[in-house]
């Protein structure tokens, strides 16, 4: 009778009434707030990683990052991190939207009608499920706090990010961000992947089975091997301080389903198309690209490959605008004329070069 569960129903009347599992009853329903917090932490980690890769880190750290990503090409690393961030943003957006959907004002409980009373009595007598079926929702359904939905509600609403269950999507994010067993969120992630229909084994295999990259390095032996401590904690330089670990936003936590607090707004443009604005907001200090030969940038809306490393002044020279009255914008931030020479371009940069023309 209840072979297929309605996606909106968070109860399973058949099973629960016949054998109420005490453990499941006493535990608070597990909300997806932890998942949301996890994704946000992952995003932050990815952004920090991106900033670090763009501004070349010390050699030992660089070695670790290369090891995690299995490549020496910073362009490839950056592209993978950006892809991971994009998927993470999409997933976060879905979850927040889903939460907003369920987080409307709480509907008042209907007054106890005779039918409802009968149903509750029927419930108490453990009558066959068919009888109480119609009236069940108004009686027994513990309407949860408005806010973040339960896990399976979430899954039924958002399992189509890239046509895959959340667990798989999470796996992809982790792979793109180079997460492996050394990361402090490792166990948390395994747990979440497991819960949301992902393949734990696949994730672990993918994460731990990367080839060592020593053979990818140039024959330059002057590059020092990293100290063992660096191998233990390759992200030490850019993870949050230890006391911040695992302190997710309390509003999203299990026991504190937030009550009426509006969810942070996420612009759709943040997520699925175009260049996410948060990438533009990253602290990109003047950096010198390393080992980067071909750079692909978007120049006045058109993709263009440049021989790198190249700075803004080099670009202007190569396209014939050096010394002209133009203004340059890189990733929506103006590059002052005085800094053309020291502003290096990286793959994925979006550049606008403008000048004055006739206009009224």
């Amino acid at each position: 009778m209840f072979k297929t569960r309605h996606p909106l129903s968070d109860t399973q009347p058949n099973r629960r009434r016949s054998a109420p599992a005490p453990a499941a009853r006493t535990r608070a329903p597990r909300r997806s707030g932890r998942l949301l917090g996890l994704i946000r932490t992952l995003s932050n980690h990815g952004k920090a990683l991106l900033a670090t890769v763009r501004e070349p880190p010390p050699p030992d750290q660089l070695l670790c990052i290369r090891q995690d990503f299995g490549t020496c090409d910073p362009g490839a690393i950056i592209a993978r991190i950006e892809r991971g961030l994009r998927i993470a943003a999409a997933l976060e957006y879905r979850i927040v939207n889903c939460a907003a959907y369920f987080g409307g004002p709480r509907t008042p409980q209907p007054a106890s009608t005779p039918a409802a009373t009968a149903a509750s009595q029927a419930l108490a007598r453990h009558e066959p499920p068919g009888l109480a079926k119609q009236t069940l929702p108004s009686v027994t359904r513990p309407r949860e706090e408005p806010g973040v939905p339960l896990n399976h509600l979430l899954d039924s609403f958002t399992n189509h990010v890239n046509d895959q269950p959340i667990g798989i999507v999470l796996t992809k994010i982790c792979q793109d961000l180079g997460i492996n067993y050394r990361h402090r969120l490792w166990w948390e992630l395994l747990d979440a992947i497991d819960q949301h229909g992902g393949k734990y084994a696949r994730f672990e295999r993918a994460a731990s089975n990367r080839k060592p990259v020593f053979d990818l390095f140039p024959a330059d032996t002057s590059l020092p091997l990293p100290a063992p401590s660096a191998w233990q904690s390759p992200y030490a330089a850019f993870t949050e301080p230890a006391d911040a670990a695992h302190t997710f936003d309390r509003r999203f936590d299990d026991q504190n389903a937030f009550q009426g607090t509006p969810l942070p707004a996420l612009e759709p443009s943040n997520t699925l198309t175009g260049r996410p604005p948060f990438l533009a907001a990253l602290p990109c200090r003047a950096h010198i690209p390393f080992m980067q030969t071909v750079i692909t940038v978007t120049l006045n809306g058109e993709p263009r490959s440049l021989d790198g490393p190249v700075s803004v002044s080099g670009l202007l020279e190569s396209i014939g605008f050096e010394g002209r009255k133009v203004a340059v914008e890189r990733n929506e931030a103006i590059v002052p004329r005085s800094r053309y020479a020291e502003t290096w371009l990286a793959t994925g940069d979006s550049l606008e070069i403008v000048h004055f023309i006739g206009g009224g």
Partner: protein, 263 residues
């Protein structure tokens, strides 16, 4: 009135003093030499310019600066084509970087075909720009309250439209222009809608400090001659305003004395 007195009739915007009360746009001309010639003939000291992407395929193409010397004319970068506050602010920041000055013309436009000023976006952009140190000459609706608020925010000139941009319909709202002017102490310009010389003269007669126009010259059959006409019209309108108009009366009042008639 002689030339010396005319030369002293100047107006000041954001601390810059100008003799010519005509601001002209540089768009829609056939080519850059014609633009330069028309601007020369108009006697304008301020020209509006747009900010656009460079032509990557032809870097050696002549640029506006090669014909219209930025040292001779004050460039007034505009935000034509911007429909949101953020676009406008971004554009003018780029303009400041390209040109190096902060006197700008802000216009945030609604959708075609009216391109009517979007006042909500205009307020947002003006606030951001003024905070950022720009001196904003603002294109706005013929709305006295909006104009007053823009002035209070710190805009250096208020420029309502006489008619939609490029329509050439002339000053369609003289009464409203007069009423707006009552409350505004910063320079007050009619920005859009002028179609021919008499329209510019009307705007000046109403008491505007200056007139801003583009299409009326650029789309004329002979733009250079029209530019000269505009120059004269603006001067004529200004003089008429200073001279003071005679009162209107509903009826005739003979100009010749009625005494000494032959009977």
């Amino acid at each position: 009135m002689d030339g010396t007195q005319l030369a002293e009739d100047t107006w000041t915007v954001a601390g810059r003093r100008f003799r010519s009360r005509l601001i002209v746009g540089t768009g829609k001309y056939k080519d850059l030499p014609e633009t330069a010639a028309a601007i020369e003939a108009s006697g304008a000291e301020i020209v509006t310019v747009a900010v656009r992407r460079v032509n990557l395929s032809d870097p050696k193409a002549p640029m506006l600066q090669d014909h219209v010397d930025p040292k001779k004319y004050t460039y007034l970068p505009n935000t034509a084509g911007c429909h949101t506050a953020s676009e406008a602010v971004r554009t003018l920041r780029l303009a400041r970087e390209a040109g190096g000055w902060n006197l700008v013309k802000l216009e945030v436009l609604g959708p075609a075909p009216l391109l009517y000023p979007d006042m909500r976006g205009t307020f947002e952009a003006a606030e951001a720009l003024i905070k950022d140190g720009f001196e904003v000459m603002v294109y706005c609706a013929d709305d006295p309250l909006a104009a007053k608020r823009l002035e209070d925010m710190g805009c250096v000139a208020i420029m309502p439209l006489g008619a939609p941009i490029g329509s050439g319909l002339g000053v369609q709202n003289p009464a409203m222009i007069c009423m707006m002017m009552e409350h505004i102490s910063v320079p007050f310009l009619v920005d859009a809608g002028v179609g021919t010389a008499s329209d510019a003269a009307i705007a000046m007669e109403l008491g505007c400090d200056a007139v801003l126009l583009n299409s009326a010259i650029a789309l004329a059959k002979d733009p250079i001659r029209m530019a000269r006409a505009m120059k004269l019209a603006v001067e004529a309108g200004r003089l008429a305003h200073l001279a003071g108009r005679m009162p209107r009366r509903m009826g005739a009042d003979p100009s010749s004395p009625l005494t000494g008639l032959i009977r």
